[in-house]
């Protein structure tokens, strides 16, 4: 077991996975396919390769997806999150259906990142009720299961500076029980193939680190995308790519909640906007399709 690149003889056949694109531009023109964006649900177990078969908790992974697509993906009612004795969320009420792209806007410190972390299952609910992908947020065991189904693109990159891009992605693929051979197309799509694969993350530019972080998130094939300032640090091509990835995720049945100050770009993407002020969700605005 290692997070080394797969040996040549372990590479998937051409029919099993898409062929690596020669350039990102060519990939961008392609139709969404099954390389990695299809969210894990009932097929979660198929993501494992023989080298990486799940240990005792494999049962947990296959039993994670209890959300059947009916009802709201995110349902919060008077949700309060107290962090370091400060109510970062002070009674937020929100309902988001499957397939929606919801923009969360608000000033700095309003509680946007806390809302995303709550929906990722990373922080507990202090009071109120919350249910995400069928998991009760007040139940710590359910929150742990929710984490496996959601993907959080945060301000932090979740990368190890000392490891190369490839080593990072393979490590996290192994940690997430994702077939490592499926992440190669993701790296190519994020323009991290070629020589960048073997560059230490600490030597990358901020934009390249952000792309690696995005690759890490989408290689997990989450059902719920939680994006905190997804366009930050990206060049124009990267921003467009981010939008396309969100579109592809929606096409495969994922739901997206994104917090952004880049309102022009994010509003064009969103089907609904909610405003967070002082830990409260004060306004919900629906956009024409």
């Amino acid at each position: 077991m290692s997070f080394d690149p797969p040996e040549p003889d372990q590479s998937p056949s051409a029919g099993q996975y898409p062929k690596p694109r020669s350039s990102t531009a060519a990939y961008l023109r392609s139709e969404p396919d099954s390389y990695a964006l299809e969210p894990t649900s009932s097929e979660a177990g198929s993501a494992d390769n023989s080298d990486d078969a799940r240990s005792p908790d494999s049962k947990d992974k296959s039993s994670v997806s209890e959300f059947d697509g009916s009802g709201a993906v995110i349902e919060l009612s008077e949700a309060v999150c107290v962090i370091n004795q400060f109510p970062a969320l002070a009674g937020a009420t929100l309902s988001i259906d499957e397939g929606e792209i919801v923009l969360v806007r608000g000033p700095n410190g309003a509680g946007k990142s806390t809302l995303l972390r709550l929906c990722a299952g990373l922080i507990p609910l202090t009071s109120g009720t919350g249910n995400v992908l069928g998991h009760d947020l007040s139940d710590s065991k359910r929150r742990r299961l929710l984490r496996r189904e959601s993907g959080l693109l945060a301000h932090q990159t979740y990368l190890y500076d000392q490891l190369t891009v490839e080593e990072n992605i393979y490590f996290w693929a192994k940690a997430n029980r994702v077939d490592v051979s499926t992440v190669d197309p993701v790296l190519d799509r994020l323009d991290l193939g070629g020589r960048l694969r073997t560059v230490a993350v600490g030597s990358l530019s901020a934009g390249q680190r952000r792309r690696a972080s995005i690759a890490l998130m989408i290689s997990r094939r989450p059902r719920l995308w939680l994006l905190d300032e997804p366009h930050a640090g990206l060049d124009q091509g990267g921003r467009q790519l981010m939008d396309e990835l969100v579109g592809h995720a929606i096409a495969f049945g994922a739901t997206v909640l994104l917090a952004s100050h880049d309102l022009d770009q994010a509003t064009a993407l969103a089907t609904k906007t909610v405003a967070v002020v002082g830990g409260h969700i004060e306004e919900v605005e629906h956009h024409a399709p």
């Binding site: 945060a154 932090q156 490891l163």
Partner: protein, 238 residues
């Protein structure tokens, strides 16, 4: 759990191989402490033996030899604090603890992986420090098996307890100063048992050392067990 432990250990060791912090910074720190201990103890020898008109160089070496096992383990303890701190710094510097939680890795596996990686690094460190101590303090080994057993058990105990407390303090701003205050008292029995076992392995008789090895084994099992059980709740709080 074992899959996750192996994955974490490999990752941590690969990071160490790339950055060489333990070999490049912690090991020189340890050797420096060994030298400084030697310098600090030497002047006191005249006070210890005031009736000797001239304290010979050989006498000073013998006094150093007597306290050498304790100095060696004190050096290992201080060096291990740096290695443990480093082990958690790489997880906290870019929010990677959150990613570990999101991945759903078994917390016990994360704990064991971190412990294994630090043990591997400390064993290399101890081998180098042991050679340094043997040269500086004029030591000769009489029972290698006893010494090896004591070193492995004591290292595992130090690393397990250290990993637990470093994880506990990793979310706090005062982590760097708090960890030694938390860890060192807990490791006092390990220091005592490891020192006495090492004394027996160096000066003999070896039979006197095995009860201390047994005690080390008990503490090792205790700390590893507590770590496996409690690392999950600790991770949730950090």
């Amino acid at each position: 759990m074992l899959h996750d432990a192996w994955l974490m250990a490999k990752k941590d060791l690969r990071i160490e191989m790339g950055s060489r912090v333990v070999l490049g910074q912690v090991l020189p720190f340890g050797i420096l402490i060994l030298i400084l201990f030697g310098l600090a103890i030497s002047p006191n020898l005249a006070v210890i033996a005031p009736n000797e008109p001239i304290a010979g160089f050989a006498d000073r070496r013998s006094v150093l030899s007597q306290v050498a096992p304790g100095l060696f383990w004190m050096t290992v303890l201080l060096s291990s604090l740096m290695a443990l701190n480093r082990s958690f710094l790489i997880e906290s510097q870019d929010g990677n603890f959150d990613a570990l939680k999101m991945a759903g890795l078994d917390p016990a596996g994360i704990f064991l992986g971190k412990v294994l990686a630090v043990i591997a690094q400390l064993l290399v460190l101890e081998a180098a420090l042991g050679v340094g101590a043997a040269i500086l303090y004029q030591l000769q080994l009489t029972d290698a098996v006893l010494l090896a057993t004591a070193v492995v058990l004591a290292t595992t105990a130090v690393t397990s307890a250290g990993t637990l407390y470093t994880a506990l303090a990793s979310g706090l701003q005062a982590r760097d100063t708090l960890v030694p205050l938390l860890v060192l008292p807990v490791l006092a029995p390990v220091l005592l048992a490891a020192t006495l076992a090492t004394e027996s392995a160096v000066f003999g008789p070896a039979s006197d050392g095995w009860p201390w090895v047994l005690l080390l084994g008990v503490f090792t099992l205790l700390y590893v067990g507590i770590g496996i059980v409690s690392f999950g709740p600790i991770m949730e709080e950090t």
